[in-house]
Every structure is written in C-alpha cells, then in structure tokens.
Amino acid sequence: MSQLPFRFRAAHAIQREVTRLAAIFWVVPIAFIMRVLMRYHIKDVAQVRTRYRALVKERKHPLLICPNHLTMMDSAVIAWALGGSWWYVFHYSRMPWNLPEYNNFASQWPTRIGAWITKCIPVIRGGRREDVSRVIKRVQHLLARGETALIFPEAGRSRSGRVEADSVAHAVGRILTSVPGCQPLCVYLRGDRQRTWSTIPARGDSFYIEFEVVEPQSDHSGMRRSRDFSRQIVDRLVGMEEEYFASR
C-alpha cells in the first residue's frame, strides 16, 4: 500500500478532528430526524447494537462495512442501527467514513460542506480510474489508522431491488487486500416497505438488519485476488438476502 501524500493525510486529520468535536451537533440530530421525524424503526435494535458493540470490542482490526444498497440513506440508517447515536460520540472511530456519489451529495457547496462534516469522501462512480484510485488510497489510509469505513460492494443502488451479483465494485476487494488485517462486515438492510430502489425509505418504515464478518479467500494474487474478494462479499450478501426472504 503506497503512502498517501501529506496534504491528503493532513486534510483527513483535520476533517476527522473537526467532525469529531462537532459530532454531538450532527450525529445526534441525524438520529433524531430518522427516529422522530421519519419515524424509522430498527427491528431488535437492542440486540443488534449489543452484538455490534461486542464485535468491535472483540476485534481490534479495521472494519470495512459492506452493505447492500437500495436507498440514498442506507449508510445513515446502517450507522444508526448498528451504533445508535451517543455511542459514536464516545467511539468516534467507529462512525464509518462514507463514499457517497459526488453528483448526489457534493456537487453544490452546501451539500459538499454537509458531506465533509458527516465524514464523507465523495467519489464519482465510474469516473476516471486515477480519481477513483485516489479515493481508494484515502480509505486505505483511514482504515490502516483504525478507522471504520462503509462502501457498497455493488456498483450502485440495485435497480432490481435485489442484490445484483453481476454488479461488483472492484474497490472493495482492492481495499481489503491492501490493508493488513482489514475485515469485511457484510450487512443486509431492508425496510418492510422497500419494494425496489428509491431515494429515501418510506416514512415510518421498519428495518430488518443482519450482519456478519466474512473471511474471503483466494488462491490468486493482484487484481484477480481483489476481484475474488469483491465477488465473495457480494455472493454473501446474496445469501443473506435469500435468508431474509426465506424467513418471511
């Protein structure tokens, strides 16, 4: 893993500290919006958070959260479901860095500032490889420092409403193979009223969430190894989705 240029390391250190100090002013209000204004509900939330907190306490490795992707609010709902709000204020490295689509979240100044404050690194999906690679290196750097990141292993929101096994983002495997000890946490999230993809989940929706650490394997090296890792993660998400529908 090549070292990130100083200016990016400095920029991340500043972003992390400023947003950490401001966490109480954005983490708690966002949770309030989801819980009170949007009336979202997480099923078995106490059990989910107990399991997640035990998991991160037990495993000291960097964690890369790899969820399915149906709405533009998935990362916020997942973070809230797993950790709550106040917990992140005191365990800030566990508040995941997000990689939102630049055109959705950072193309205008107000949203760009909002993305910066909420621990985001905007990326143009399908953009120039050099630009995407720069973002990947930033995530590698943050994970190597013990931070948590969230990246969707499908290459965008699923248009079919189901995990799309053919749509695999190579970046996930590339990050996992380059950060020593980094472990992927597959997360399956779905609102009861979520039929297909959308911008935001329906108000009052109730979310099922399940997660597990997976250990991808590959006999290959280089890009082939990264691809194998990415595919295995998406395959596991497909399996988690099948389990979800089978249990209904």
């Binding site: 399908g126 490889r129 890009m223």
Partner: protein, 82 residues
C-alpha cells in the same frame, strides 16, 4: 507482437463490454474506454484480467489506474511484454 496486433487484440477483448457500437466502429488510440465506449466501470477489471490471460502478463492495480483510453491499454501491454 507488433503494436497493430496488440491494438487489434485489445479491441477484440473490449468489444463484448462495449455499449456504444458507433464509437467502437471508429475506435482509435484516443478512444476512452469508459466515456466513449460506455463500458461499465465495474467491468473494466474483467477487461484488464482478460488482457492478463490473452497476453500472459500481470497487471497491478496501480498499472491499471493509468488505463483510460485504448491507447493507454496498448501502451501498458507493450511495456509489460518488453
């Protein structure tokens, strides 16, 4: 292997992933694989792995980052074969 032969093989490998057939008909060194040929970015990795198989070379992620155009791909393969 000559540069023209590499170019022809690169186009052959890229072809199944192309969504813009008109751009493929006029393909040249400057043709951007993602923007002009409308190849899905997630499939670019498959294309590069096909280069590895076809030309018996190994491409690292950092090498692949420099591949934007068909000419970039040809130059990378030439470099790996030399």
């Amino acid at each position: 292997m000559t540069r023209d032969e590499i170019f022809a093989k690169v186009v052959e490998i890229v072809k199944p992933f192309v969504k813009n057939e008109d751009a493929l008909a006029a393909v040249n060194d400057e043709t951007n694989i993602l923007e002009d040929l409308k190849v899905n970015s997630a499939r670019l990795v498959d294309i590069i792995l096909n280069f590895e198989d076809e030309f018996d070379i190994e491409v690292e992620d950092e090498d692949a980052d420099a591949v934007n155009t068909v000419g970039d791909a040809v130059a990378l393969i030439e470099e790996k074969l030399s």
